[in-house]
Symmetry: C2
Subunit: 401 residues, 2 copies
């Protein structure tokens, strides 16, 4: 049972969470709990580090920010004991949750289970500080923002849990953003692959890495509300889902910016010439489209980057202009990426066509298209965001009645 | 160099402390730093534990409250690095600062110095999280409120430091409370024994245990201001002080309450009969006076307890009334204990007499007297506190010019 920052935001909520854990214990389950820092705490700690030094030692940053989860895991153990539940807190170095030494974004390598198993057998609830581990040199590491989700999945995998429940401030995964589409439906089940695409495309329910890890170790994940007592969305293996929907959800991301280089030479190595310098500058390129050459000599190259990388990307490209030999650099950050996602599209034709038709009927021009096995993404002008999402939600039969 | 909560209360002060540490490093010194939690933080953490459960697991309490020092030691390392000083943070379990398992008030058993020495030799500043250690079962322990002073002395003793500087919000140890006596003087030097008495008698400059430890390991302590750059008060061995004052200071404590049991049987075992049940109830008894029996059969027994124990002490005694067989229980919490302290009084007669005379001249009635080798304490009505302290400060020639 993993509880995020809003679920443990104050003493009253910590008490409520303890009650929820007690119910699982009373039902005869062996329970491990993973907690985040109280909401707002991690931001404060990160700010202090930045205030002292914009470029600070990641090892010391980890010491500072890991303290937030330390507080909540101790408090949660006290809250459980107060309810008569045998419980104890586990800090990363105590378990130990062994990670690599990539401070600030460490990866979990191993969680020994012997000691934990012995305590579960006695009925003791283990309360883990999420987000933290210990590196090879005995120093505190953290897993990156949202890392408590990954802690939870890693613990669930290590102890062979039947289920990993991620309690959060939403009650599940929806077919799309309910703030845009009133008829959005909560999904009962979704596959790991779909959840990964959803997470990558802007649905902030779960940290991407936690879904990857769940998929790798076949941990059955449930996303559910910590404030309401009802089932959430199960993230499971494809085989667990009997009736596969063609499309499970519509995602969108406003964090996109488009760059087009016109009349670059149409010859081998030109793509490497463009994207090499961008990679060196740590710019992540997403959608890439190269048009067929008209004159046989030059072509236009269009691609997208995140808005945060937009300025840097343009600077890098302008700096390489003499080498790249393009005519113009055209850029536009008023764009949105809209995606339809579903494992069902693997075995069905015509899914993409339905998307293009639905958008065309609303007069929405598609600027860039990119596809993967289980998703189709298009780039359109940002002003069409809501219209496009709603049209697609209806077109794929996702609207609730 | 130990910095208390007010010295690291915010980012600006942490930066200022880092500058101060850098000056010592630049002067060619090998420096270890011990930090408290930012002021207010520990109180907040303690409150949360109490809010969840008045009687909480001390092991989990330790996990929660130790986080405050974790934050500041990481931040301090970052601040030092930003000034170009090689530094790293050390949490209790990393050093390790080994303690016994008395959670919430643990005692330091051992601090291995090999690893630290190797780093000092390379010029690296070690920044320790004060107040915390690790118990035999690999769990976090804390040393009790004010425990960072003890951490600092323990580290100084372990590494064989030439000096242990305790930076705080006062600039040294005074002959008495400057808020009461405007002519109070800052002492250049004071002996461990005197400092111990001062600390026990209500001067809150240093945690008592830290002074005991400094005395035991002959660590030269300096109490000085973290806000002004000038020498403070050195707490040292008696042999280091050439000209011993008869009296070094006047202390007072308002945290006193007086209880008298009248007409208790004057026979062997009666004191044990009274103080045994009080000890069992964890009531600390301070001054004890038994008058000579008038009738040869009964006597009056007077003693003091702290105000916090007052109600419990009365309850325990009333509960034992049938056994103790006293006539009346007379109690009074409007009292203050005033003490004169000085190692010089060991070898000089007439010190006590000067005290009694000074108080008599002001018309102050002495209720109880208690003496030790280097201190005389009297209990007087609380309303005379300031008058008594000022009179004694003058009588022993402590007033500054």
């Amino acid at each position: 049972m993993k509880f995020g920052g809003t679920s443990v935001a104050n003493i009253e909520r910590i008490k409520a969470v303890a009650q929820r854990v007690k119910r699982e214990v009373d039902a005869g389950n062996e329970v491990a709990v993973v907690v985040s820092a109280m909401s707002g705490v991690t931001n404060q700690l990160v700010d202090w580090c930045k205030e002292l030094a914009p470029l600070h030692d990641a090892r010391e940053y980890d010491v500072v920010v890991a303290s937030g989860e330390q507080v909540t895991c101790g408090l949660m153990a006290i809250a459980l004991q107060e309810l008569g539940v045998d419980a104890r807190s586990w800090l990363g170095w105590q378990v130990p949750i062994k990670t690599d030494d990539a401070h600030g974004k460490a990866r979990i390598l191993d969680i020994p289970r012997e000691d934990l198993d012995r305590r579960f057998a006695k009925g003791q609830v283990a309360v883990f500080a999420g987000f933290q581990g210990v590196g090879s040199d005995n120093r505190v590491t953290t897993l990156g923002r949202g890392g408590s989700d990954t802690s939870a999945v890693a613990v669930a995998a290590a102890i062979g849990a039947d289920r990993c429940d991620i309690f959060t401030d939403v009650d599940g995964v929806y077919t799309t953003d309910p703030r845009i589409v009133a008829k959005a439906r909560k999904l009962d089940k979704i596959t790991y692959e779909e959840m990964l695409e959803m997470a990558s495309l802007g649905a902030k329910v779960l940290q991407i890495r936690s879904v990857e890890m769940a998929m790798k170790h076949r941990v059955r994940l449930q996303v559910l509300s910590s404030f309401e007592d009802k089932p959430g969305t199960m993230v499971v293996d494809e085989e667990e889902i009997m009736e596969k929907e063609l499309v499970s959800g519509i995602a969108y991301s406003r964090d996109e910016a488009k760059i087009t280089l016109t009349r670059v030479a149409d010859k081998p190595g030109v793509a490497a010439g463009i994207f090499g310098p961008l990679a060196d500058a740590n710019v992540n390129v997403d959608m890439i489209v190269q048009n067929i050459s008209e004159d046989g000599k030059t072509t236009d190259m269009t691609f997208t980057v995140s808005k945060g990388d937009f300025a840097r990307a343009k600077q890098v490209l302008e700096g390489s202009r003499s080498v790249l030999d393009f005519q113009d650099l055209i850029s536009d950050s008023n764009v949105v990426k809209v995606s339809v996602i579903g494992v069902g599209m693997r075995s069905h034709a015509g899914i993409a066509q339905r998307m293009f038709k639905a958008l065309a009927e609303k007069g929405i021009n598609i600027q860039v298209i990119s596809t993967s096995e289980i998703k189709i993404s298009v780039l359109v002008a940002e002003e069409y965001t809501e219209l496009a999402v709603r049209a697609l939600h209806t077109a794929y039969g996702l609207d609730s009645e």
